[in-house]
């Protein structure tokens, strides 16, 4: 179009010049030539930015691929250049869109539920939001093999994600299977992208929020709480156990030690008593009668002053007890002298 437009005015205007005698012909010609030169320059020089690659087409036919820098092509649309940002990492979001990117990015999820709702292999529903990062590695294929390549790529990504999620339980999707899903989707998406000749390389598939559907969320939270509660109960019981058992073990050791102490005490005392008795008995045997009497009297000497009341009764006296005022007093002693007297 630039080709026809550039040529025609010169053809049309040239013959008309004599009809305008007042205008200085030389100047117009110079101006026109200058205009043409500028037009040629503008339509033949172009730059390729650092992240780009340019494909040059001559009459619609692919000629060459140009790297970043200043380049020339034939003017007036004979050659056209199409630029593809091959170095830039591109991204598609599913189930949400970044509204404002920044340190605290803002996301919008409403209106994209259709993208994120999917079925799991146990026929439950899950909400999966994810991002696919990719790059154009073959700009020729990217431009000339697939129409609406980015829409197609989005469709592929959705189909693959659902295929992978459809083969897993809802628990896997929500918890343990995340990494595996990302890896598998990446591999399968790449296979499909190659098969479709998109010229795209999948860099990364990243799962974002993966949640149960909104109405089911509370019951999923309840499961988490219940799990926490179970842990708490177990921990409590464990700590009670740990508080009681070691203490009981300590106390048990104490009991045993006390018994050991008793044993030592008992045997030592027995030995001591025995030794004393033996020593005494040894002397007693030398003069039994005297020793006996001596011990008896010594004992009486010690105990008689201590006793509060002393009653001496004749052996023939009968009915003594009614005469004694035993009230308010301990009446235990009376048998003692009998016992003392009884012992020979």
């Amino acid at each position: 179009m630039a080709f026809g437009g550039g040529k025609k005015p010169t053809v049309v205007n040239f013959p008309e010049m004599p009809d305008l005698p007042k205008v200085p012909v030389g100047r117009i010609r110079a101006a026109l030539i200058a205009l043409v030169v500028v037009a040629v320059a503008l339509s033949s020089v172009f730059t390729v930015e650092p992240e780009e690659e340019a494909l040059v087409l001559r009459f619609g036919e692919y000629q060459r691929t140009l790297q970043p820098g200043l380049h020339f092509k034939l003017p007036f649309g004979i050659e056209r250049a199409q630029k593809v940002p091959v170095q830039r990492q591109l991204k598609q979001e599913f189930g949400f869109r970044t509204v404002k990117a920044g340190v605290r990015s803002q996301f919008s999820t409403s209106g994209y539920e259709d993208e994120s709702n999917m079925l799991t292999g146990d026929l439950n529903a899950a909400v999966v939001q994810w991002v696919v990062q990719y790059r154009v590695v073959d700009s020729y294929k990217f431009l000339f093999r697939v129409r609406h390549v980015e829409d197609t790529f989005g469709d592929m990504a959705e189909a693959i994600m659902r295929t992978v999620v459809g083969d897993r339980t809802v628990n896997e999707v929500l918890t343990v299977g995340r990494q595996e899903i990302e890896d598998l989707v990446k591999v399968q998406l790449q296979e499909l992208a190659d098969q479709y000749e998109t010229g795209i390389r999948v860099d990364q598939v990243v799962l974002q929020n993966v949640t149960p559907p909104e109405p089911v969320k509370p019951s999923f939270n309840e499961v988490n709480q219940a799990e926490q509660e179970r842990e708490r109960l177990i921990n409590e019981a464990q700590s009670e156990y740990n508080r009681a058992v070691p203490r009981a073990e300590g106390e048990a050791r104490q009991t045993i030690q006390q018994a050991e102490g008793y044993a030592i005490n008992r045997t030592n005392r027995a030995r001591g008593d025995a030794a004393r008795f033996l020593a005494l008995y040894e002397s007693y045997r030398k003069a039994p009668e005297v020793t006996r009497t001596r011990i008896y009297l010594e004992t009486m000497e010690t105990i008689l002053p201590r006793a509060g009341k002393k009653v001496v009764v004749d052996d023939d006296l009968e009915g003594l007890l009614p005469l004694l005022d035993l009230t308010g007093r301990s009446a235990a002693p009376p048998p003692s002298p009998q016992g003392g007297g009884g012992g020979e």
Binding site: T163, E240, F277
Partner: protein
């Protein structure tokens, strides 16, 4: 004269312009002469020529094209209504045939709607939902705590016989047979989205909720059970520790008592004399230990104490 030159020149340019045409990398072209196709399709890009004013060109896409199905609510074999959204990939394989059969892309899209949607409907109706959702019979990975809790609930994926990929292949094969004579090559059909219909969704949510409730209950009762078990263990352990300590202590005491008894016996039980001496000594000790200020000493004149008195008096 000048006007004539001008007119001729203009005519020449127009004619030349209509004799030249450009075929893009992304295009293929059919040339018709009074409506009749001439030569084969032009599918190489570049500058091309035709007979001006007589021949017409028709451009067609050479690239892979997309087809997007509408979301349809379809019943599966097990009578579950699901929303199915499919997409397909195709290209114009034979532009001439394509031109004759469907004329243009719009015509092709509408034919594809009929064919792919129809085959999808057939395939969905022939299979249970699980067959469309799952691809393989892989075993689910389970994290331990969840598995424990769920072993009583539902942790298994139901087995499939064919699976998603196979059903896709069936749809593709059936649709391919029908698009062949449209000059269309159908390369792929994919389920983009499969979701429950609103009615079913409510039931599914209820099922999921009750399933979760069961898991929660299980966790709770597991917690209580575990706690009771630990406390029971504790109780048993305490009893064991304490009773063992008691037993040991009593054994030690018993041995000590026995030993002491042996020692005493060895000392006191040497002869009748030693036995009597021991009784006497012990009696005296007991006296010493028991008599205090509250004690009434009732002394018989017949007792030993006074006997000494009488003896000395009498003597």
């Amino acid at each position: 004269m000048r006007v004539v030159v001008l007119a001729v020149g203009l005519l020449l340019v127009i004619t030349l312009g209509s004799a030249i045409y450009v075929v893009n990398e992304t295009e293929q072209v059919i040339v018709t002469q009074f409506g009749e196709p001439v030569g084969g399709p032009v599918d190489t890009p570049g500058l091309k020529f035709k007979i001006p004013l007589v021949q017409k060109i028709h451009r067609f896409e050479k690239r892979f094209l997309e087809w997007e199905g509408d979301v349809e609510e379809l019943p599966t074999k097990d009578k579950v209504f699901v929303l199915i959204d499919t997409y397909a990939r195709w290209r114009i394989d034979d532009p001439l045939l394509f031109f004759q059969r469907v004329r243009n892309e719009r015509g092709a899209q509408s034919r594809l709607d009929d064919i792919v949607d129809g085959e999808t409907r057939n395939a969905i109706a022939r299979h249970n939902l699980i067959e469309v959702v799952r691809t393989s019979n892989r075993e689910p990975i389970t994290d331990e705590s969840v598995f424990e809790a769920e072993s009583g609930v539902q942790a298994e994926l139901n087995e499939i016989r064919e699976g998603r990929a196979a059903i896709r292949e069936q749809i593709l094969a059936a649709a391919q047979r029908r698009t062949e004579d449209l000059g269309i090559e159908l390369l792929d059909v994919q389920f983009k989205r499969i979701n429950y219909g609103d009615q079913v969704l409510r039931d599914v949510y209820n099922r999921m909720i009750s399933e979760r409730k069961r898991i929660s209950e299980r966790f709770r009762s597991e917690g209580q059970g575990e706690k009771a078990k630990i406390l029971g263990d504790m109780e048993r352990e305490l009893k064991r520790v304490r009773s063992e300590a008691y037993r040991q202590a009593e054994e030690i005491r018993g041995r000590a008592d026995a030993e002491a008894t042996d020692i005493y016996a060895a000392a006191y039980d040497q002869s009748p004399a030693s036995r009597r001496f021991y009784e006497f000594l012990k009696t005296m000790e007991t006296f010493e230990a028991t008599v205090d200020a509250d004690t009434w000493m009732v002394l018989s004149t017949d007792g030993d104490f006074f006997r000494f008195l009488e003896d000395s008096g009498g003597g």
